[in-house]
């Protein structure tokens, strides 16, 4: 109901190696992992480790079953079908796969790629390169006053030439409420464009139904949703995956190989050439179950509550600027202190056991839009509590104090 979750005890790093409490506020960069995920990894390597698909012995059967069960768990988590779930290394690889295998085959001069200047580099640079390679044009959705992307401006920017709309559902800097993707998909599909959603910051934090969103592609990372590093997902609609060329050629994605020419399996295997990240997929499946156990509606409510609380508390501190939406928001809060560089803020907070990120957050164009070189950023997840917000606020106050009064 209230979005109050308290699961710190499941996260070894947060209770600290020797009891030292860590205030980890950098989940937008990567999330901490619950014990169940670590246990699943260890269990796999200790009892089920074999290559998948390839062996007929029982150990290989167990590994294959665990790997495919993980695909089903991930599919269930986003309301997709298992054959629409392609395992990748992460959001960046997922988007690059579309930019190479789909865009380079489909785009031509005159076509438009619609994205925004608020995107993470991983959802911008691949499109710059695809545009350059194909002669298509890169277009940017005009940003709102608070620099967020609004559905209305997306709808206004879609044209008859738009072939793909590539946008983050939640910005990793601004912490906007999730874009209503279904409305964008409807408009895009009307002009024959496809929709790619960078779900790196949304899939971990809210209930996701890819079929309801009606997006053609959704990319996300396991490590940001309590899963292991080295695993991510490209969700793709069945028809579009069927038509798309493979990207990683090699073992296990082939059907027939002659010396000169080969044929390929169906999706998702077609896109998973080589030994996949087996243990990591299994870990991600367990992370999905863990999150579902918390209830994603609760996770989102918790996120919003902490994000809104932190933003309003920080805004009360004189000399603090908070970026992003003023009211309702997700748990990503970027800010700056007058006259103190974000790195100095992060170092000062680190001395108080508070981990926040500082820098451009892989969003240099957005930094320019905000008129800053860098920001500090606190981001929350289900293991954070109101006490963490208290510590952040106190930490920011004492940082302000240190740099403006002490040692002058």
């Amino acid at each position: 109901m209230s979005g109050r979750i308290d699961r710190r005890q499941d996260f070894p790093l947060l209770v600290g190696p020797e009891g030292a409490e860590l205030t980890y506020l950098d989940s937008a960069a990567t999330a901490q992992k619950p014990e169940v995920v670590l246990a699943a990894l260890a269990h796999y390597y200790r009892y089920d480790n074999a290559n998948v698909y390839r062996g007929v012995y029982s150990l290989a059967a167990r590994a294959t079953a665990a790997f495919e069960a993980a695909r089903e768990k991930v599919a269930r988590f986003i309301h997709a079908d298992p054959d629409e779930v392609v395992f990748t290394r992460g959001t960046t690889e997922s988007i690059n796969m579309v930019a190479w295998a789909w865009a380079r085959a489909e785009l031509k001069p005159g076509d438009e790629i619609l994205t925004s200047e608020a995107e993470h580099h991983s959802n911008l640079v691949p499109w710059q390169e695809a545009a350059r390679a194909t002669g298509a044009e890169l277009r940017f959705v005009p940003l709102s006053e608070d620099k967020t992307v609004s559905v209305d401006s997306v709808l206004g920017a879609i044209s008859q030439r738009t072939r793909i709309v590539a946008l983050a559902q939640v910005s990793n800097v601004l912490g906007n409420l999730p874009l209503e993707v279904a409305r964008i998909s409807e408009a895009a599909h009307r002009v024959g464009a496809v929709v790619l959603i960078d779900g790196a910051q949304s899939v971990p934090h809210l209930p996701i139904d890819v079929h309801a969103m009606d997006a053609d592609f959704v990319a996300f990372s396991g490590h940001k949703m309590m899963g292991p590093t080295g695993i991510g997902v490209l969700y793709g609609k069945r028809q579009i995956l069927a038509a798309m060329a493979p990207f990683h050629f090699g073992g296990e994605m082939i059907s027939h190989v002659d010396p000169e020419v080969s044929t390929y399996k169906d999706a998702p295997q077609k896109f998973e050439g080589g030994t996949p990240p087996i243990a990591q997929a299994i870990g991600l499946g367990v992370a999905c179950d863990y999150l579902s156990g918390l209830d994603m509606a609760q996770v989102m409510a918790h996120d919003r509550r902490l994000g809104e609380l932190a933003a309003s508390r920080l805004r009360e501190v004189p000399g603090v600027h908070v970026y992003g939406p003023r009211g309702d928001r997700m748990g990503v809060v970027s800010f700056n202190l007058d006259g103190v560089h974000a790195h100095d803020v992060a170092t000062a907070l680190d001395q108080q056991g508070i981990c926040v990120r500082a820098g451009h957050h892989c969003c240099q164009p957005l930094m320019r839009q905000l008129g800053v070189a860098a920001t500090a950023r606190a981001s929350f997840y289900a293991y954070n509590t109101e006490q963490d917000v208290d510590k952040l606020t106190a930490g920011v106050l004492s940082t302000m104090e240190f740099f403006h009064h002490v040692a002058r």
Partner: protein
């Protein structure tokens, strides 16, 4: 390690009121810009050599955290009156200190204030940035580029 060990008074002072900041007026003998793409800090260093190959004037410009800006400010101040050989020696001595490979020595003068940086691995690059830019400028100049 407390925050005050890193941010010595002189560092905060220079960060707030940087010396030698802005473009160098008159002839420029060597210059270079450098940035840290991970954090966005950027610094440009400009130096003019005068009679006897001594640094006659040095300026820097850029954006960055207190560590990199204070380092650039103190560095620019200290360059004046040195030969390039002395500048290179100072640079080596300093970068060895901030990366924790060497204890602070007297020749570093005010730069000794950056000794605490060695305890903050993610900030070593900030402290070294202006000196790395300087090195780049020198090797370009010496390479005739």
């Amino acid at each position: 390690m407390s925050l005050a060990d890193l941010y010595r008074e002189i560092i905060l002072e220079h960060a707030r009121h940087p010396q030698h900041k802005g473009p160098l007026d008159g002839p420029v003998t060597l210059q270079a810009g450098l940035d840290n793409p991970t954090c966005g800090d950027e610094v440009v260093v400009q130096v003019r050599l005068g009679p006897g190959g001594l640094v006659e004037a040095a300026k820097f410009d850029g954006v960055g955290c207190s560590i990199s800006m204070a380092a650039a400010s103190i560095m620019s101040e200290m360059l004046v009156g040195r030969t390039l050989a002395q500048v290179k020696e100072l640079t080596e001595s300093y970068t060895a200190m901030v990366s924790g490979q060497k204890a602070p020595t007297d020749d570093l003068q005010d730069l000794v204030a950056f000794a605490g940086v060695a305890q903050f691995p993610m900030r070593v690059k900030c402290a070294a940035l202006p000196f790395h830019a300087l090195q780049k400028g020198i090797s370009r100049y010496e390479g005739g580029i």
